[in-house]
Symmetry: C2
Subunit: 326 residues, 2 copies
């Protein structure tokens, strides 16, 4: 029973007889043997480490991390969460240091990193597989995972219209994000499909953050003929709308309907509870980790065609929407 044979069993190599495999597994169980990760990394080509790169920490980050880490654990991998300050001058250095020091087997890119050319190139140069979450651009040379933002936005808009809303304000996310564009496109298409005019004075840009959402809401609610409903491109900005409405003494949702997007924790921490779209964050995370883990041993590159997974979203109807007052 040589060390090598144990190694073979641990790595599930096919060239081991069933008899010895069983014996080894029993011994492993008995001794509670755990292979030393560092030695495996040093000797082998895999590091059993996956990077999770993000720009700014959002509310979904911990959820995503938890989901991906969960999947990683199942296969003996570990997740390294790393904040990538895109504007930092040492940005590339930082990334390549990480890659070289840690020998990551793959990287999961959260938006807006998923569309960042610099990171993309750095990863490609280092031939490190990556998986992109909710990219704007699906022509990258790595798989992507997301929901159909366009469709979700249409549904959400249809929900509003179905209840009788006609003047609907829209708060855009951060320019350049795929989600921003798709959600807006879904909104406008659904409006047009219902022969509803899009009043450009009712379109604001809130960059996905609460404070700017506040400014948008203040402008939106101050116009001559205010909207009866506001579609915010994420829950943080929807919360901002609600906060402003409360501040100026509006009665919600009677006087104003609000919808958000993401089903972030904040969605259920305010009154009225937000009607929103839930992204399957945990599933996306698990899938992302899985893609990398399964691709990792071979290093054969991604299968062709590249898997672009579109997961199902869920329309969550809560209390923040009602029919407009006649």
């Amino acid at each position: 029973m040589s060390a090598k044979t144990v190694s073979r069993v641990v790595n599930a190599e096919p060239t081991v007889s069933e008899k010895t495999r069983a014996r080894v597994l029993r011994a492993i169980e008995l001794l509670d043997y755990k292979p030393n990760l560092n030695a495996r990394m040093l000797a082998g080509e895999r590091s059993y480490l996956i990077g999770l790169f993000y720009d700014k920490p959002g509310a979904y980050l911990t959820d995503f991390y938890a989901g991906a880490a969960d999947r990683c654990r199942e296969s003996g991998y570990h997740l390294m969460m790393e904040s990538c300050d895109r504007d930092s001058p040492q940005f590339t250095r930082q990334v390549s240091t990480l890659l070289r020091q840690m020998r990551l087997d793959g990287v999961i890119l959260l938006p807006p990193l998923s569309d960042d050319g610099l990171i993309g190139n750095t990863l490609r140069d280092a031939s490190i597989p990556s998986v992109r979450i909710a990219p704007r651009d699906h022509t990258h040379d790595s798989p992507s995972i997301g929901i159909d933002d366009y469709l979700a936005a249409r549904r959400l808009t249809a929900h509003l219209i179905g209840l009788g809303h006609q003047r609907i304000g829209f708060i855009l996310g951060k320019p350049g994000h795929g989600a921003t564009e798709e959600r807006y496109r879904g909104f406008t298409d659904e409006m047009r499909a219902n022969n509803l005019a899009i009043d450009t004075s009712l379109i604001e840009t809130g960059n996905f953050v609460f404070p700017e959402g506040v400014a948008c809401a203040e402008r939106l609610l101050k116009v001559e003929q205010p909207p009866t409903a506001i579609f915010a491109s994420n829950d943080d900005m929807a919360a901002a709308v609600i906060s402003v409405a409360h501040k100026i003494g509006m009665d919600l949702p009677t006087q104003l309907s609000v919808v958000g997007f993401d089903d972030a924790p904040i969605a259920t921490m305010i009154w009225p509870l937000l009607t929103t779209v839930r992204q399957p964050v945990a599933s996306m995370a698990r899938l992302a980790a899985e893609l990398i883990i399964e691709n990792s041993p071979r290093r054969l590159g991604w299968p062709s065609p590249l898997p672009h997974s579109t997961l199902d979203f869920e329309l969550i109807v809560r209390d923040s929407v009602t029919s407009p007052r006649p």
Copy 2:
């Protein structure tokens, strides 16, 4: 110029002449040399890895992670965030696997893990240094970091009392957490110091979470003579109070003052903005990482007496508090 000499320079060993050190450093810079982490781990006794163990992901988790990771990066360390499901049967196995596989140099324990005997023992048996964040119990054999919850709660209560509030409701956190007890003690002591009675029908337990905070708030606002102010032991529960108040049509903060604790993101994402206590999360995180990093090379155990750091909190006065109506 042997490899060993380079190793000495990289590890800042003292027995290198200034001349060679300079030469080596220049070469390192020139070649952009990065020592292989895995090899260092395998060969040396350090792993350059610190664990951040948490139970349930809270809002401050990402901030804490960011702060600690920041400090780690400065010294070439990395942070592994791990969720410890305290109730899982494989809990100990999971932890010890981590420790043995990754050979963590140290572990940061977030509450309530900071008071968990099982983890504490496991770590001690593996002689892995740990740093506890906001423990209830300061008699552990590892350093702790926190703020003076008692004092902060007194200040917050004094703020309320100073504005004229006399009937003040209190929502407790999760039993067993140090923060829960200290904050409540601060509240009661300050009330007593002002000769104010503590009406036990105005004390509720919300376990630090929003949904239970909602239930507490509903009960609190339904009593015969409702409080004019509510002290929630954290911001999530304070948000719950505000949400309920909005729901039943109260005018805030005129009819009800609310204070929270932590200055979580939610504190500024609702109207009225929460008056609360800010914990220096980033500083705590940096300090925690630093303690482990500095202790790590020696493995001499902690200095005596054990450093129990009490960092400064900050009373953040915003809009959720006003004088009670006459």
